[in-house]
């Protein structure tokens, strides 16, 4: 394959005693929409700023398109950034904001006009060229910031929580626009956000960071269904967690797990788990099957008995809180809003072995 668009090698950043980013190795494939997610303070923005050259790494290096950028200042890097606060120049109008980078590159006048016009229509801001940033709505400002960064045709576009200050509806709309723009221009996007849903809906690849460490890299679905650590499992969505230990292996990646409560289940897990190892079994709420006390799963060895303690309606689906006999509280999400178990009902809960994923208990 070709060079990755971005390669981070042992990248590290310390602020005094604080390690913001801890020896990070990461490759972002060319032409993809790649997200870095994590809670605030996990080092994702610092990582982005090091790629942009706005922060100097303490150790390690940044490569873009195979070129080491360590000795190259921000203003000569082939990357551009959409800032969280947009950072539009308040004394310049929309046109001049977008033209800023091209003027710095001393492009010919005609070319500037051509490329700015192209961008204005790409982000649908026709007619607003002479407006000042403060006269624009949040969504429009966001589009100007995007156009201003894209107009330079960077190797990589960096986006630092660009939708953070917009309301939900606008966010959704701009998420789709961003994805659409990325598809159309084919530039590699590196997108930083704390919103996993946002990241999942747009990204080809996701990296999850926590406390300066990279927890997992992969496709959204893999990260969601096969989290590598408990942190990832909990950060990317609700999950039911059962503590237990490995008691046997039955085929590649399929294990027998004994719960602390005594019962045994089969579950899928990563390679090289050893017998006796303490693990957690993760089942996503939408993977739980709920049936009456004598339902189809009642004979299954994996089935649990539980009582429905509360139900909340989420529109297209319902979220059930269940009190299981030996496992405590469970969360299930079932599709369809009308029929099914009611509060206080006795039910059986089951899942397919494929939906149960084993996460080794780490030190953290």
């Amino acid at each position: 394959m070709t060079e990755p668009a971005v390669r981070l090698v042992g990248l590290e950043k310390r602020f005094g005693d604080l390690v913001a980013v801890h020896s990070l190795d990461l490759e972002v494939p060319r032409g993809t929409f790649f997200s870095i997610i994590g809670p605030s303070g996990c080092g994702k923005t610092t990582t982005l700023r090091m790629i942009a050259g706005l922060e100097t790494p303490t150790a390690g290096r940044v490569e873009v398109a195979g070129r080491d950028l360590s000795r190259i200042p921000a203003y000569r890097r082939p990357v551009n950034t959409v800032f969280q606060s947009y950072a539009l120049f308040p004394h310049l109008d929309v046109y001049e904001n977008i033209a800023f980078g091209l003027r710095e590159d001393r492009r010919p006048r005609n070319e500037i006009r051509e490329r700015v016009r192209e961008m204005v229509s790409l982000v649908r801001l026709g007619g607003r060229e002479r407006s000042r940033p403060r006269q624009l709505s949040g969504g429009q400002q966001q589009r100007v910031a995007l156009a201003r960064a894209l107009v330079k045709h960077p190797e990589v576009l960096l986006l630092d929580e660009p939708l953070g200050s917009l309301d939900l509806k606008l966010r959704r709309q701009l998420q789709e626009e961003l994805k659409e723009v990325q598809r159309r221009v084919g530039i590699t996007f590196v997108y930083v956000t704390h919103d996993q849903e946002e990241a999942f809906s747009m990204s080809d690849g996701v990296a999850v960071m926590n406390r300066g460490l990279l927890e997992q890299v992969g496709q959204p679905e893999v990260v969601y269904r096969r989290p590598a650590t408990m942190f990832v499992a909990e950060f990317v969505g609700l999950s039911n967690r059962f503590a237990g230990r490995i008691v046997g292996q039955s085929g590649a990646g399929l294990y027998e797990v004994e719960f602390d409560a005594g019962s045994r289940v089969r579950a899928v897990g990563p390679d090289r788990l050893s017998d006796g190892q303490a693990v957690s079994v993760i089942v996503r709420p939408e993977e739980l099957r709920i049936a009456g006390p004598s339902g189809p799963d009642s004979d299954s060895s994996d089935a649990l008995r539980a009582i429905v303690s509360s139900i909340s309606y989420l529109g297209p689906s319902r979220q059930l809180r269940l009190e299981a006999e030996t496992f405590g509280e469970l969360v299930a999400v079932v599709q369809g809003a009308s029929r099914g178990a009611g509060e206080g009902d006795r039910v059986t809960v089951a899942w397919s072995p494929d939906a149960a994923w084993i996460v080794p208990d780490g030190p953290a």
């Binding site: 942009a52 050259g53 706005l54 200042p73 921000a74 203003y75 000569r76 990357v79 551009n80 950034t81 800032f83 969280q84 606060s85 950072a87 539009l88 120049f89 308040p90 004394h91 800023f100 980078g101 710095e104 590159d105 403060r134 201003r148 960064a149 330079k152």
Partner: protein, 282 residues
């Protein structure tokens, strides 16, 4: 009842206002008084302005004062911008030291600086005159300019400069295309403020002007010692006029830009209290 309660403060208020404003009023009236001895109102005339402007000392004084004030304000603003931008990136301790040096220049009596500079310059054989006065004025004027510009720098969004660098602007270009435009209102306000401070200064000018140069306030002082005539009042009115007009422009700029800047550069309120508060300190 109400009237009685406020009677005392009313009287004090009137007295204070009168004490402050009557001398100024007298200056204005007497600048227009036809009676040369100023012993009574002899009718209105603009004659004394002509006389004053024909006085070579006054003319040279005006020219010297304008030159000095202009040079002082330019120099002060350059120092203030440089200092404030350094201050923004400096560490905690360096910042505190910087602030201390700024406040000292404002708090310490002007006469101390003037005398110290006088001794210092003559020790090193530096000639007294226009340049010496400019240096003397800049010592404290730049401190006021720094306060004004600092308050603007605080409100400066650092991500604007990041964005400029990100889009390919070298540090120098970023300064020119982003930082300076953001500071323009503060630069103008600081410039005009230091201009007026320098223009009506007596103490420093008196010490450092030497025998060849006499700025207008110094000329005025020596004329008063000789004889108080209507042309002195005329000069006083001129000086007042120049000062008031400049200050009015400052106030206008400050109030206008601080309204606008909230939306533009997200400046906190600090800017508004800039020059207004500092003027009282002097």
């Amino acid at each position: 009842m109400n009237f009685r309660r406020h009677l005392f403060s009313g009287i004090v208020g009137v007295l204070v206002l009168g004490f402050l404003w009557i001398p100024l009023l007298m200056t204005v009236v007497n600048a227009l008084n036809r009676d040369e001895l100023l012993s009574r109102w002899g009718g209105a005339t603009f004659r004394w302005f002509g006389v004053a402007l024909q006085n070579a000392d006054a003319r040279n004084g005006l020219r010297a004062s304008l030159t000095i004030a202009l040079a002082t304000s330019v120099l002060s603003v350059v120092i203030a911008v440089t200092g404030a931008l350094w201050w923004r990136k400096a560490g905690r301790r360096a910042r505190r030291a910087f602030d201390l040096l700024v406040y000292l220049r404002i708090v310490l009596p002007e006469v101390v600086f003037a005398a110290a500079l006088f001794i210092f310059l003559s020790r090193w054989g530096f000639p007294l005159g226009t340049l010496a006065v400019v240096i003397g004025h800049t010592v404290w004027a730049s401190a006021y300019a720094t306060l004004v510009i600092q308050s603007r720098v605080i409100g400066l969004d650092p991500s604007l400069e990041d964005a400029a660098a990100d889009l390919g602007a070298t540090p120098l270009r970023t300064f020119r295309r982003v930082t300076v435009p953001a500071l323009v209102p503060a630069i103008l306000a600081a410039g005009l403020l230091t201009f007026t401070f320098s223009f009506d200064d007596v103490v420093t000018s008196f010490y450092l002007a030497g025998s060849q140069v006499a700025p207008l306030p110094v000329v005025l002082l020596s004329m008063i010692r000789f004889r108080i005539g209507p042309q002195i009042n005329a000069i006083g009115l001129l000086v007042m006029g120049i000062t008031i007009v400049t200050m009015a422009i400052v106030l206008l700029l400050v109030s206008k830009t601080s309204q606008r800047s909230r939306a533009r550069f997200s400046t906190p309120d600090a800017f508004q209290q800039g020059p207004l508060v500092e003027e009282e300190v002097r």
